[in-house]
Structures are given as C-alpha cells and as structure tokens.
C-alpha cells in the first residue's frame, strides 16, 4: 500500500519532469542545442499565473494566459538570442542559453522580489478508496501529463508539421531540400516546448506552491537529467526518463536514510547510464558525417 502510494506520487512528479524534458529533447533534436533557459519558463509561467489569478481570480484563465505568454516568450527568446547564433559553435549557444536563464531570473527578482509567494491555484482535496487515500491533484497531474504525452506522440507521428519536425531532426539539409521550412519548424518546436513547460509549471505549482525567482531551476535541471537519461533527442526517451526520475526521487525520499542523498543519487544514475549507454536509454546512436 505504502509502495503503491509512493509509486503514484512518483509517476505524477515524473509526469511533470517528462513534460519539461520533452521541451529539452525536442529543441535538442531539432535545433541541436541544449536550451538551459527552458527551466525558467516554468518560473515565468508561475508568475503569470500569479498575476492573472490576482487580477481575475479565474484559475483556468490564468493557466491559459500563462501558456500563451510562455509560447510568446519562448519564440521571442529563440528569435532574439538563439537565431543569430545558428551556425555558430554549440558552446556559444549553450552559454547564451545560460545567460538567458540568468536574465529571466534577475528580471523576475526585479519585478516580483526574492521573497516567496504562495499561489494556491485550486484546492482539489483528496479521494479515498477504502483505506487508500490520495490527493486529486496527484491523479490529475498524472492523467493530464499522460494525455499530453500521448497527443504529442500522435501529433508528431501523423500531422504534417510533426513529420516535418521528425525530418528536420533526422537530416536538416535533406529536409530543407524537400521543401521544409527549417526556421518555421524551429519556431514551432520552441512554441510547443514552452507550452509544455507552462503546463508543467501549472502542475508543479499545484505540488510546490511557493514561488520565487529560482523556482524553475530545480525542476529544470531534473527534467534535463531525465531527458539525458532517456536519450536526449528522443521523444519517448524524455517521457520514459521523466517518469523514471520521478519514481526514483519519490522512492529515495520515502526512505529516511536515503533522503538526504536524493539529488546525488539521481545524478549518479545519470552518470552511470551515460557510462553504460552514452546515448541514453532510448536514444539512437548518431553517426557523425564528415
């Protein structure tokens, strides 16, 4: 019973990680860059929800606004900071992404201050089946993230744009010759990634309602770890990695002796997996072309 409880909690936390990890992995697959500012989109979504919730009091409207705002922000960041560097060394792009992440954090600190702000979007309460009681938001998070993941998979598999995305990630040059507009695909990728991050931010806020300017760093780094464990660039890999990491985290936290080492254990698993299978669990080996 206890184990089942931990498992469900882990899956629901993992669902959040998976949503964020999808953003990392899709951007990596298509734009070939590690977008370190991705985690901070979660933070931005939290503050947008805060603003809209205090303005309108309507949670759904606030969530919708945060998704729209984050999509715009993601696209603007891509256009302003990353697009000029297309073709430059990956290192330069990586450092720019870190700079953008810092920029977002210090902007948030300027506007909202460093003090924590609690946002309770909605109190769902809990349900019990016999002796087994669980929070509704945990189930909701799990359910919603699974729905999003399935629909994203379907979108990539069957829609025109989705297949174009696959083509670009496979071979950008060839895709371009086939008439795919690479710039448009990259913009769409950033938009989808940011929307997922905003959604993840909403669920994360349900779990951890204390907002501060570094709110996104931890889930960002964890989700990034999840994406690498699953195989960066691989969509199913990100989902699998996210869920796995969520379960590991909750299992570790449930054992008092292991609990202080939770972060270290997660990162150690990352290193071990890279040691055994450098491309991640579901990642494909990529041949380097000369």
């Amino acid at each position: 019973m206890e184990f089942l409880h931990t498992l469900i909690n882990g899956l629901s936390l993992g669902g959040i990680y998976a949503l964020v990890a999808l953003g990392y992995t899709m951007v990596y697959g298509i734009a070939k860059m590690l977008n370190f500012a991705h985690g901070d989109i979660i933070m931005v979504s939290g503050y947008v929800i805060l603003v809209f919730l205090s303005m309108t009091g309507n949670p759904l409207l606030a969530i919708f606004a945060s998704i729209v705002f984050c999509i715009l922000l993601g696209v603007v960041i891509e256009k302003v900071a990353y697009k000029p560097l297309r073709g430059a060394s990956p290192l330069a792009v990586l450092i720019t992404a870190i700079g953008v992440s810092y920029l977002l954090q210090s902007l948030a600190q300027m506007i909202f201050g460093a003090d924590p702000k609690m946002i309770v979007i909605y109190d769902f309460g809990s349900v019990s089946i016999g002796a087994f009681s669980i929070e509704v938001k945990t189930l909701l998070t799990l359910f919603a993230s699974l729905v999003v993941m399935i629909s994203l998979t379907l979108f990539i598999k069957f829609s025109r744009t989705g297949r174009a995305m696959l083509a670009v990630s496979e071979d950008r040059g060839a895709a371009q010759l086939m008439g795919v507009s690479v710039n448009r695909i990259i913009t769409i990728t950033f938009a989808i990634g940011s929307a997922l991050a905003a959604l993840a931010g909403t669920f994360y806020l349900l779990k951890a309602p204390n907002m501060n300017p570094t709110f996104g760093s931890l889930p960002g780094i964890k989700a990034f770890t999840a994406a690498v464990i699953g195989g960066i660039g691989s969509v199913p890999g990100a989902m699998f990695g996210g869920l796995l990491l969520g379960i590991i985290e909750c299992l570790c936290n449930a054992v008092p002796v292991l609990s202080p080492y939770t972060d270290a254990i997660e990162f150690l698993i990352l290193i071990l997996i890279l040691l055994v299978k450098p491309t991640g669990i579901l990642g494909k080996k990529r041949r380097e072309k000369v």
Partner: protein, 405 residues
C-alpha cells in the same frame, strides 16, 4: 619566407609570451612591498586573495572552455574537492605543527587538494570525453551537485556536514602573495601546455574533431589531459580558498559559482588567457566592492547587467551575421591598420606559435571567411538554412589549411 621576418616574429612572440608574467610579477613585488611596509589595509588584502583565487579558476576553466571548446558546469565542484581535502590536510598538519602558518604544510595541502581534484577530473572526464557533444557539460553539472551533497552529509568530525569544516587560516598579510605566486605557476603550466604539442592537439580537436582524428590525434587522450589539468588547478584554487577562510562550507560551491567562473571566461573572450585574467579581476572587484554600495533593487540590477552583457558578448562574438561587422570594428584590426597595413600570412602562421595567437574558433572562422572572400567573392552571408552547406565548406577549407601547414 625570409629569415629576417621569421626572427622578427620570434622576438615579438617572446615579448608577448612573458608580458603577463611580468605584469603579475611586478604586481606581486609591489603589493608584497606595500604589505611589508604595512600600507595595505585588511580589506585590500582580502580582495587580493579573492582575486588570485578567481584568476586561477578562470584561467583553468579557460583551458577547457576556450581552448578545448568543451563546457564544464562543475568547475566549482573540483574546487570543492580541493577545498575540503586540501583543507583537511592543512587542518591535520596545523594540529601537528601547532600553527597554520607553515609553508611546507601549505605546499603539501596544495598538492593533495590539486591531485584529488585531478583524480576526480580523470574519473569524470574519462566517460564524458569519449563522447562528442555536450556530454561534459551534463556530467560536470551532475558531478558538482553530487560533491556538494556528499560533503553536506558527512559527519561533524570528518568534514563538518552542513556546519562546514574548520580550516586553519594562513597569516592574512602574506597569503595573497602565495596566491599571486600560484597564479604565476598556473599561467606557466597552462600556457606552456597550450604551446606544446599537446596544446596544439587540443585546439586542433576543438576546431575540427573529425579532421584531428583523421590526422592521428588521440582525441580522448588529449581532451582528458587538458581537462585533468584544469581540474587540478581548480583544486589548487580550492585549497587556497580553504586557507583564506576559517570555514569551508559546501553550499558555496554550487551551480551558481560554476556559472560565475564561466561568466569570467566568456567576458574574457573565451579563448584568451589574458582576457580571462582581466575579467576575473574585474568581476571579483565589482562583486566585492559593489556589495557594500548597492542594496535592494540595485544589487539585482547588477545581476541583470551581467546576464545582458553575457548574452550580448556571446552573440556579438559568435553570430555569423555579424562577422563582417566584427572584422571592420575590432581592436586588433584597427591596431594592425595603424602598424602595418597588410599582414604577411607567413607572420600570422609564425605568430600562431605564441600562446595567445593560437587561433580561437572565432579567429579561425575569420581567417576562413577572408579566404573564401578572396577566392569566390564570398557567398552571401550564410543564413541558417544554408548552414549545413557553409559548414561543410568551412570544414573542407579547414582541412585544406591543415594540410598546408
């Protein structure tokens, strides 16, 4: 190439090569003299200690980021290993000798701290550097966090846990002199490494790994040598840190500190040792001095400005679209226009022997563009869409250039 130009170039190189030693040496003597004469205030002395630590960190990270073209996000982690293990040795020796002010004990703990960090660098680098791509960034990030968590959960007697570990503080009037000497030692080792065969191999790998591999360079080996060297000096900086504080506490060495060091290297121009030194000194000064001046929102503004400058500089230095602009508006270009209107390509190649003339990626791109422009009146600036082609083209030219040299 005539003999005359070659020797002239060589003489020039020598000057460039020792210039930074001279400057730091003179500063060491100057501040040493002031300190002996009792003219240096405590806060200045502490600032100088901090600066020397930052410079060692920045120069050693510059080796990885600037010259190897790999990203390390766990430099503070290596520093942490050095600070704790070197600091532990220092504490044990000072218990044994009755005082922390023993130069031999300092050297011993520097050695232990540096070596421990180097071993960690080896263990981390071995799996990560076999792979291409951004794996080193990921693994070092993980390493930094793991180290922090491990030291936080140690017992009170061993490494102090969350309370931190007590370390002996070296005589505060003289520690910064050791810091300066260590800066000189770091420069000597890293600059000589870069000028050696190994260093050339490392930069060759950065510029084109496949080409380097094809010429028979053992890519993993050379990357690993560079990375271990960098970790060693991060460890040294850690030991220096433990000597300059009474307390070493692992939460200091988190991700944010690693980023701060990275910012120094990037602001320094990413491929320039002297740039890193200047940026490290400047940022340390600003961080320390502004902290006493700026409060509230102004202090946040400082972070905002750092972030903006970071993004701005990277985009300016690397954006393909700004290449022609960079060529026109650039200190080096302006200077060379003043001195000698046309630079003999032979001199450039000869110059490459100097450590700071090892062309960075940016330089190399510039050279290639010039060449392309000369050859076929330069294709319109490569938009992202044409990137694959232009990349391939530049790879080709890079290879050809290697053959020529």
């Amino acid at each position: 190439m005539t003999r005359a130009t070659s020797t002239a170039a060589k003489r020039q190189i020598k000057w460039k090569y020792i210039a930074n030693y001279l400057v730091i040496g003179v500063l060491t003597l100057l501040f040493g003299g002031l300190s002996l004469a009792g003219q240096l205030g405590q806060s200045t002395v502490y600032l100088l200690e901090k600066m020397s630590i930052s410079v060692i960190l920045a120069v050693s990270l510059c080796l990885v980021v600037g010259f190897m073209g790999e990203l390390s996000l766990g430099h503070a982690g290596f520093m942490c290993v050095g600070a704790y293990l070197g600091g532990k040795v220092a504490a044990l020796l000072s218990d044994l000798l009755g005082s922390g002010n023993n130069v031999l004990a300092l050297l011993a703990s520097l050695l232990v701290g540096g070596l421990c960090a180097a071993v960690c660098g080896f263990l981390i680098g071995l799996p990560a550097l076999r792979l291409r791509g951004d794996y080193l960034a990921i693994v070092t990030l993980a390493f930094g966090e793991i180290v922090r968590v491990i030291f936080q959960n140690t017992s009170l007697e061993s490494f102090g846990g969350t309370l931190g570990m007590k370390t002996p503080r070296f005589n505060r009037n003289y520690l910064f002199l050791f810091g300066f000497l260590l800066v000189l030692a770091t420069l000597a080792v890293i600059q000589n490494f870069l000028r050696s065969k190994h260093g050339r191999a490392v930069t060759a790998i950065r510029d084109n790994e496949i080409a380097a591999r094809a010429t028979g360079i053992n890519v993993t080996k050379y990357k690993l040598i560079g990375f271990v060297l960098s970790a060693f000096f991060a460890g040294i900086a850690g030991v220096l840190y433990s000597y300059s504080n009474y307390q070493v506490e692992s939460s200091k060495f988190g991700y944010n500190y690693s980023i701060e060091i990275l910012v120094m290297v990037v602001l320094g121009g990413m491929g320039s040792i002297n740039g890193s030194i200047i940026a490290a000194v400047l940022i340390t000064y600003l961080n320390t001095r502004l902290a006493t001046v700026l409060t509230g929102n102004l202090a946040v503004l400082q972070n905002l400005v750092y972030a903006l400058v970071l993004v701005g500089i990277v985009i300016y230095n690397n954006a393909p679209a700004l290449k022609s602009f960079r060529e026109r508006v650039n200190l080096k270009a302006l200077l060379s226009k003043l001195k000698k209107p046309v630079q003999d390509p032979a001199v450039i190649r000869e110059d490459a022997a100097a450590w700071d003339r090892i062309p960075t990626k940016i330089d190399m791109d510039d050279l290639l563009t010039v060449e392309l422009q000369q050859k076929k009146a330069a294709p319109a600036d490569a938009d992202s869409d044409g990137e694959a082609n232009s990349d391939a083209a530049s790879d080709e030219t890079a290879d050809r250039k290697k053959d020529e040299t």
